[in-house]
C-alpha cells in the first residue's frame, strides 16, 4: 500500500482547510449560532419541551447533522473537483497509487474535516444549552459513519460535476431540503399523519433520528433502522465509487 501517497493527499487537503479556516470552520460555527438564536431562542420560547427535552437542546443533534451532511458533501466534492477543474488531477492519475488509496486520501480528509466541525459545533452548542449525551460511543459512531458516507457522496458529485453549477446542484436542491425536512428542527410526531408517512421516505430522517437517540434516548424511528440506513448509504456510495474507478468515468477516458 502506498501510504506515503495517502498521507500526501490527506495532508494536502487538510492544509487547504487550514488556509481557508474562515470558510471551513468559522462560517459553519457562526451559521449554527444563528440557528440557535432563531430556532432556539425565538421559536424555542414558544415550544417548551419536545418529548421531555428542551427545544434548544432538541435541535442540537439535527443542527450538527445538517452541518455534517452539507460540509461533508461540500468538502469532498470540492476536494476532487478542483484538481479536475485546474487540471492537476493528471498527477494523481499518473501516480503509483490505487483507487482505494485515492479515495482514502480525499474522502478521509473530507470526513475528518466535517467530523471535527461536528464536534466544534457540539462545543458551540454547549454555550447555548445544557447538553448531555446518553450514548457517547454511538454518537461518535453515527458522527463518523455519516461523515464518511456523505464525503463519499461528495466525492461522487465532485467527479460527476463538470461545472461549478453542477457542483452546487445536489447539495442545494437535494441535501439541504432533505435535511430541513428530515426532522432536524422538529419531531415527526409534530406533523399530520399523512406527512409523517411521507417523511419516512426521507433517508435523512433516519440519520437525524439515530443521532438524536444517541444524545437523549428519544427517536422517531428505531435505532436499528437508523443504523441500517447509514450502512445502506455507505454501501451504495462505495458501490458507485467502485464503478467510477472501474470504468474510469470522467477520470480516465
Amino acid at each position: 500500500m502506498n501510504l506515503q501517497a495517502v498521507r500526501a493527499i490527506y495532508c494536502f487537503e487538510m492544509a487547504r482547510a487550514g488556509r481557508t479556516l474562515l470558510q471551513s470552520l468559522v462560517s459553519p460555527v457562526i451559521s449554527t449560532s444563528l440557528y440557535f438564536v432563531v430556532f432556539g431562542a425565538a421559536i424555542g420560547s414558544r415550544i417548551q419541551e419536545v418529548e421531555g427535552v428542551s427545544y434548544g437542546a432538541f435541535i442540537v443533534p439535527g443542527l450538527i447533522m445538517l452541518m455534517l451532511l452539507t460540509q461533508s458533501v461540500s468538502n469532498a466534492s470540492f476536494g476532487i473537483f478542483f484538481p479536475k477543474f485546474t487540471g492537476t488531477i493528471y498527477e494523481v492519475m499518473s501516480a503509483p497509487i490505487s483507487y482505494f488509496e485515492i479515495v482514502l486520501g480525499y474522502v478521509g480528509a473530507a470526513a475528518s474535516k466535517s467530523a471535527v466541525l461536528g464536534l466544534v459545533i457540539l462545543g458551540t452548542a454547549n454555550f447555548f444549552v445544557d447538553l448531555h449525551i446518553l450514548h457517547p460511543f454511538m454518537m461518535l459512531l453515527f458522527l463518523v459513519l455519516t461523515a464518511i458516507t456523505f464525503s463519499l457522496l461528495g466525492f461522487i458529485i465532485g467527479i460527476w460535476a463538470d461545472s461549478f453549477e453542477k457542483l452546487q446542484l445536489v447539495p442545494l436542491l437535494i441535501i439541504t431540503p432533505l435535511t430541513f425536512l428530515g426532522g432536524s428542527f422538529y419531531s415527526i410526531d409534530m406533523l399530520p399523519e399523512v406527512w409523517q408517512a411521507v417523511t419516512l421516505a426521507n433517508p435523512v430522517v433516519y440519520l437525524v433520528s439515530g443521532f438524536r437517540w444517541s444524545f437523549y434516548g428519544i427517536s422517531d424511528v428505531s435505532v436499528t433502522a437508523s443504523l441500517i440506513m447509514v450502512f445502506v448509504f455507505l454501501a451504495v456510495s462505495l458501490a458507485v465509487v467502485n464503478w467510477i474507478f472501474r470504468t474510469g468515468y470522467r477520470l480516465r477516458p
Binding site: R7, C11, R19, T88, Y90, E91, A95, P96, I97, G248
Partner: protein
C-alpha cells in the same frame, strides 16, 4: 535520395537496437486507442525507447502525441496493445511502471494557492517516496526556483510555472521523463535554459521523451526522432541519419544576368530558375555524392561557366528538420 515513406513502414525495425545494446526502457506493442466518440487516436503503434536517450516525438496537432504519452503514463486507457516500462506492464504492474515515470504536461496546470515548496513536496509523496528536503532543494536550485520556493504558484510567470511542473515531475527521482511540449509559450532565453536542464538530466541517466512543435527543439536536442501522424508512427530514426538521408541540399547561384530558361547544355542537371530568372538553384543529395545522375559540384560549376553563365554569389543550404517533417506529413496526407 531515399524516399521518406520507404522507411516509414517499419518504424519498429528502424528503431530496433543491436543485440549488444541494453533492453529498451519502454516497449510499446500493438497500441491503439479509440475514444467513445469513435475517434481513432492511435492505430497499432509499435515503438521502443532506448535507455538514456532523448527521443523527440513530432507530429501535427491531433496526430496522437498526447494520447500516446497519456496511455504510457496511465492517464488514458488503451483500447488494445501493451506498454512495458522497464519490463513492467503499465496496467498489471502499474505501481512499478508509474514509479519510474515523471510527466510534465502540456497545460500549465497548478495549485494556484499552494507554494512552490509544498507542491513539489506533495508530488514526491504522491509517488510513494519518503520526504527528502535535500533532494527537493537540489531540484529547485537546478531549475532556478530556490528563491521562489515560498511563492504561491499564482504569483509566478508562465515560464516559472513550467519550471515548477518540471520540478514536480522530478521530485520522485524518475528514470524516465515525459515532456509534453515543454517550451510552449516560453521565451527564447528560457527555452535555451530548459534545453540545458534537459541535457543535464540526460547526462544524469534520465531517459527523456519530448513532444514538440518546435522542430528547432528536436533538432537541437534529440538523439532520435519519431514522427507521428493521424495516429500512426510514420518514422523512427536517429536524428543525424534522418537529416542525412532525408535532407536535401541546395546550391543557389545569384546570376549577373537573368535567364529566360535553363540553357540546353545544362538540361541534364536538376536545375531550376527562381526570382525571375536571376537565381539558379541546384538540388542534390549531399549524403551520397555517387548517387545516380549526380556529378561533383566542381563539374557543374565548370559546365555553367562553359555555358557562358556568370554569377556574382553562391551559397548552399541544408534542409532543416522542419522541412523534412513538413514533407513527410504532406506526403502522408
Amino acid at each position: 535520395m531515399s524516399h521518406p515513406t520507404a522507411t516509414a513502414s517499419s518504424p519498429a525495425a528502424a528503431s530496433s537496437a543491436p543485440a549488444a545494446e541494453p533492453a529498451p526502457v519502454i516497449e510499446i506493442t500493438g497500441l491503439s486507442k479509440r475514444y467513445d466518440s469513435g475517434f481513432e487516436a492511435l492505430k497499432q503503434i509499435d515503438l521502443e525507447i532506448r535507455r538514456g536517450e532523448i527521443f523527440a516525438l513530432l507530429g501535427p496537432n491531433g496526430a496522437g502525441k498526447t494520447t500516446l504519452i497519456s496511455i504510457i503514463c496511465g492517464l488514458v486507457n488503451a483500447s488494445t496493445g501493451q506498454v512495458k516500462v522497464d519490463g513492467h506492464d503499465n496496467v498489471s504492474a502499474y505501481r512499478a511502471a508509474r514509479a519510474k515515470i515523471g510527466l510534465v504536461p502540456q497545460e500549465l496546470t497548478s495549485d494556484a494557492f499552494e507554494t512552490v515548496w509544498n507542491t513539489v513536496r506533495f508530488s514526491r509523496g504522491l509517488f510513494g517516496r519518503k520526504p527528502d528536503d535535500a533532494h527537493i532543494e537540489r531540484v529547485l536550485k537546478s531549475l532556478s526556483l530556490w528563491d521562489k520556493r515560498k511563492n504561491k504558484l499564482i504569483t509566478l510567470s508562465g515560464g516559472m510555472k513550467r519550471r515548477v511542473l518540471i520540478a514536480k515531475a522530478l521530485a520522485h527521482e524518475p528514470e524516465i521523463l515525459f515532456l509534453d511540449e515543454p517550451t510552449a509559450g516560453v521565451d527564447v532565453a528560457l527555452r535555451r535554459d530548459m534545453w540545458e536542464v534537459v541535457r543535464e538530466l540526460r547526462a544524469s541517466g534520465v531517459t527523456i521523451i519530448l513532444t514538440t512543435h518546435y522542430i528547432e527543439e528536436a533538432e537541437e536536442m534529440a538523439d532520435r526522432i519519431g514522427v507521428i501522424n493521424r495516429g500512426e508512427i510514420v518514422l523512427v530514426r536517429e536524428k543525424q541519419a534522418l537529416m542525412r538521408q532525408l535532407g536535401s541540399k541546395q546550391l543557389t547561384l545569384q546570376l549577373q544576368q537573368p535567364l529566360a530558361s535553363v540553357p540546353p547544355a545544362l538540361a541534364h542537371y536538376p536545375l531550376s530558375l527562381d526570382e525571375g530568372g536571376s537565381v539558379l538553384v541546384y538540388t542534390y543529395d549531399a549524403s551520397d555524392p555517387n548517387a545516380q545522375g549526380q556529378v561533383p559540384i566542381s563539374t557543374l560549376l565548370n559546365d555553367i561557366e562553359a555555358a557562358g553563365i556568370r554569377f556574382k554569389d553562391l551559397h548552399t543550404k541544408q534542409s532543416s528538420l522542419e522541412e523534412i517533417f513538413v514533407n513527410l506529413v504532406r506526403e502522408r496526407q
